[in-house]
Amino acid sequence: MGKLFDKLYEDIRVREGLKACMNCGVCTAICPAAEFYDYDPRQIISAVQMRDDETIEALLRSETIWYCGQCMSCRPRCPRGNTPGYIIQGLRTLSQRMGYFVESARGRQQLALKRTIGENIMKSGYCLVPRNISPDLHPEQGTVWRWVFDNDKDIYARFTPSYGREGAGALRRCSEATMQELHRIFEVSGGKEFFDDIERYSEQKAREMGYNGADENYMMDVFTQNTLAEE
């Protein structure tokens, strides 16, 4: 058993999700990502269960592990009780802990996720808030969202007494004390360190790629550039 496999297997989700895959391919047949990308969860499970460190390191540096949408459709269908989605979660976590995620275009997108969803959580206590869903970055949200965005206070007031303010109701502001508890949870449980690692590895990679660090230019490039044709 290799060292990388050992690290991967420390993840409860990998232990739960990896039994003995017989390569039937049901997971690939049901997988929405496999229909859209050149992606085959069957091959990933097959590779991981070989417990070969070289193969696992190649996966951790690859585009492949970033295609899954974590719908978990694979989980109830596997006749042997494997969960490819859980293995993917384990691989992605390890790829970020080891700093390998910056070696793939899809992996580098983790910085964009940390800077959007991650920072929303740390600033507001929510994964998303209306003021951060800019119609310019979200044209697919359409004309109605543009109207909501431009008139947010008036529209939300119809449904919640506490939009952006403390008190019960939708989109209330989390109190200072609540936010302090949330920040402490991230510090104590490793969430803050994980965010810091994403920033640190991205900073190094950005400089290596000729950016002036993981600045706004780098962030917007990883957020917007579709590299599918090159992958």
Binding site: Y126, C127, L228
Partner: protein, 361 residues
């Protein structure tokens, strides 16, 4: 087969005294649905449900985007459970499907790997001084409405029936993947024959439409939507479902997941703008409802008080089919009756060529 199969998957759903956890996506895009859920439970059915101002996001979107570690989300979830206990409740109900999947996964993990519960308990105490007390029951809010569907039917003002023909409305139900695909035993009807929405539709006079891609994901795919470069995945999967259901001519779609409700609605806007394709009758999109909106209409609520003006696909064709008496002039009003303007027109509502965006850019 369907009729007997779903009954194999039953779970205990509390009758009263719920602790309510809000959803990041639902409160953003469907705040009227969260209000309706509380109003229906409290005002129509006389239930006790606590809307706690202290809880936060479960951080589930961050978790499934792989930026929030499992240890961290377990501790955040432990804090929600501690708050429930401190408020004097033991029946936890979550508005978000992904949160529900996460709560289920974490409770199962703690049971199977007790050392993870112990470590979470320590983390929670160290970070907040709070004590983890697990809930007696866990339900998604759609489970609660399913559980109370007959009480709602007794108070029904508008059945899911075409007011002109007297025929049942044809309804596509879409179950969020994280409702039962992670732990089939946690969902009414399991993952293959989910009955949670079908049970509501049948109890309120509608007819459930079966179609080939009924169990396919809406296409959220977390990082596949959240990162702009990857959104093709998301729209392609919604498109696959819409293409599959369209020949069955549903009158509307109903979802129990806030993300699915939003994507199946907003991607119809996008597809109409990009390709000129619409999937409903007369060149119109198919209206997409949350189950709270469906229950609210059945109980006689005003559609604009339910927040249905926030949908990309206009709901008026459905309201007219149901014989709902609505006032078009109150659709775009803010508080105190102030008119706040209205959204620009869109192809999905049969208004080609006058949109704000050239989405192809």
């Amino acid at each position: 087969m369907r009729r007997t199969k779903w009954e194999e998957y039953q779970k205990d759903i509390a009758d009263d005294k719920y602790y309510y956890a809000r959803s990041c996506i639902r409160q953003n895009f469907f705040p009227g649905s969260e209000k309706a859920f509380l109003d229906i439970l409290r005002n129509d059915l006389g239930k006790d449900i606590f809307d706690d101002p202290l809880h936060t996001s479960c951080t589930g979107i961050g978790y499934h985007s792989d930026i929030v570690p499992f240890e961290t989300i377990m501790t955040v979830v432990a804090r929600q459970f501690a708050l429930m206990h401190e408020a004097g409740y033991e029946n936890f109900t979550s508005s978000c499907i992904t949160s529900f999947g996460i709560y289920t996964e974490i409770l199962n993990t703690w049971e199977e790997f007790p050392e993870t519960e112990e470590r979470t308990r320590e983390n929670l105490f160290k970070a907040t001084g709070r004590e983890l007390v697990k809930p007696k029951s866990l339900a998604h809010t759609s489970d609660v409405i399913f559980h109370l569907r007959k009480e709602i039917a007794e108070r029904m003002k508008r059945p899911l029936v075409n007011a002109l023909t007297g025929e049942p409305l044809r309804v596509v139900e879409h179950i969020g993947c994280h409702y039962a695909k992670i732990f089939p035993k946690s969902g009414i009807g399991g993952s293959e024959f989910p009955y949670v929405l079908a049970g509501m539709i049948e109890s309120w006079g509608g007819e459930v439409v079966d179609y080939p891609e009924r169990r396919h994901c809406c296409g959220f795919g977390f990082r596949n939507y959240l990162v702009q470069a990857n959104r093709g995945y998301s729209v392609a999967n919604s498109q696959k479902k819409l293409e599959s259901m369209a020949p069955y001519r549903p009158d509307f779609i109903v979802c129990n997941c806030p993300g699915c409700s939003m994507f199946l609605d907003k991607w119809q806007y996008t597809i109409a703008e990009m390709e000129g394709t619409t999937y409903g009758a007369h060149g119109h999109g198919i209206p997409v409802l949350t189950y709270e909106e469906m229950a609210g209409l059945v109980l006689g609520y005003d559609p604009w008080e339910l927040g249905m003006q926030m949908h990309a696909v206009d709901v008026e064709p459905l309201l007219e089919k149901m014989g709902v008496e609505y006032d078009p002039s109150t659709k775009y009003l803010g508080p105190k009756g102030k008119y706040i303007g209205k959204p620009a027109a869109a192809a999905v509502n049969c208004s080609a060529g006058v949109t704000l965006y050239d989405i192809k850019k």
